[in-house]
Subunit: 91 residues, 10 copies
């Protein structure tokens, strides 16, 4: 079941650089693990922004919330979720 997820990152300007780097590294590993197991199907950067558009493929709303709220950057992101359905013209 597919969802489009828009994530906008807003790390506070006064966060310690070492801490920020550690969160970003953990985020990257977390993200790549989910990409490898097929649940984070697509991940694209929006040009000019510290933001991404992603497509998730999960079994339920609850599973999606568990994945998103577990993101190391979750406390510093504004996330919008759009549920997707099959389009009748899609091949």
């Amino acid at each position: 079941m597919l969802y489009m997820v828009h994530m906008n990152v807003e790390i506070p300007a006064d966060m310690d650089k070492a801490k920020a780097d550690e969160i970003k590294a953990t985020e990257k590993a977390y993200s790549q693990k989910l990409q490898r197991d097929g649940r984070w199907k697509h991940l694209w950067r929006i040009v000019g922004e510290y933001a991404n558009v992603s497509i998730f493929d999960v079994a339920s709303n609850d599973e999606l919330h568990q994945l998103l709220s577990g993101l190391p950057l979750f406390p510093y992101m504004t996330i919008t979720v759009t549920p997707l359905a099959t389009h009748p013209s899609a091949i």
Copy 2:
């Protein structure tokens, strides 16, 4: 080169049904031709809306505008284009 495209369809309530059906049929054929040649990579319905989210893969801004403005439903849609780049965490 990837772009996310959001299309919202607003066919006038007083359009002749036969005309509307013909436009939709032409739209479907147009869309599937582009899906088959790989330029319209993904096409999803937004749940509860007469709208879609799509991913296009084209060589230039001009090519994308040519494809979108050629859509049979173009006069009846509000389209928003978001250019996408490679995400550093994407695998």
Copy 3:
């Protein structure tokens, strides 16, 4: 799996009254059938508006879109869907 759905109805001012009445009657029957089978769990009127807030309980995004796009008033409504998850403090 739960979703909150907001529906705002905008019937064109020049629609024939008999036609409007027929659509509303069909809508009511359609809605009550879904309420009885448990998929349209809650249906509330927003005070002062020709709009409602509903809770749907369905198995998938596709099933929800099929139900919503089949609403007799679908062409005359603006619908917004919010996927819901279990809240950790809910009892």
Copy 4:
């Protein structure tokens, strides 16, 4: 008498973790007491957000404000209240 309440939580990034944990624990107990006495009828998490949608069943506007302004997280939330009425098609 029913109301839909949307609560968006924005705890300051620099709040002491122990203090934040204590507020959240008090909030959870406060919420569950109201759920048990039937005034906080439904509590759902919005997928991907630190926010919830709730349904309250209270006797008056004043009672609802007393409950909401007493929430331990009240100073850190943006709350929107929508009064609900019986829908003529509800069964």
Copy 5:
């Protein structure tokens, strides 16, 4: 129990003048009846707009919706309802 109600009137430009005049006359009588029985406590015009701000005093959300949806101009208005509570500094 008090509610602030904002009503914005948008009568279609092509409505027959006789019909519009009749609706407005019925609206006026309807409004004054509610003002006299104390449920429509205040009614003010917003300067420069075909809109009003009103204060209603009713027993429930359902009663308010019944009154508002019964307005002769209801099909031609955008209405927003804000529930009010006692302010701790009010005398």
Copy 6:
């Protein structure tokens, strides 16, 4: 001459509690003095928000600005003013 005034209070999370309490006490006395002399005609709390809707009755725009900018909480509020006129259907 009447004006509707919407005041939304946003006291900084890190303000010293003693200072905040003092400002609020001064605000309350200031507000009640104006209510008693008839210029602050109505004061209502918006349910679920740290905000109020008020009706002022003053002789001029300048007098209203003098009253509002003198509010002890003025530096911490977002204020919107709507000038009101007599409604032709008001009794």
Copy 7:
């Protein structure tokens, strides 16, 4: 007493040209009469828009509403009124 008034004109595309010309001519005479008697102090066109920014000098909210609602183009305009006060740095 001064007010800034923003007027945006939206004449329906299908209005008879003779009727539109007559309304505009009446509007011009009406406006110039008010400019001459000093109540419509300033009238400027917003570059690129069928809109204006104006400054009115009237004795009360009621007088302003009477003037604005009497504009021949009133049914075809969206008007926003901002009450102005003396600025402490104005000379």
Copy 8:
């Protein structure tokens, strides 16, 4: 003196095709005349929209309004004007 101008075209769906074609042809000639004399310096299509972004180089606000309000499509466009100044880092 430079201005950025955003023009969004909204031709009514029921306009006669011959009339629309004639307006568009006149618009094109009008635009190219201004481009040739150097006052309409740049004209770009926004990808996916019936809209453009333009740069005008004129002597005054009045001259710009005269050019824009003379556009054959002016009655069918929403125009936004942004005045530009020299950037200190521009070479």
Copy 9:
């Protein structure tokens, strides 16, 4: 050449009071000098807000930007500029 300028002041709550007072005094002197030489034609306070509406009369976009960016409060203001033209009905 006239421009309407809207300035909204947002001085950080934690700015040293002496520093704030000095900036405001410099701002006042700066503003009055421009009012005296005729380039800052009008300056009005918006009722209930720490904001103003002004009319500037300058020779070019560049001159206006130079004046506005030189305001002592410039780093603490949100400014919006609207270019004005002669209105055909102005006398």
Copy 10:
């Protein structure tokens, strides 16, 4: 391939002045290097704002994101990118 880029700068009020000056100097050099090699074709200041409108000419979405995310002021800017195409009336 052209893109319009809108950049709004928001440097934190408490940033050390020496650090801010250094970032701005690096930004200027970075910007001028790109202007000289032809990829940053136009750079204009928006009158009254700490913001600019720019036109970039690059080979791909990825190249544009690389340039923009490399801006020394990138962490302190809100950037919006609009892809542009050839306009059929452009000469």
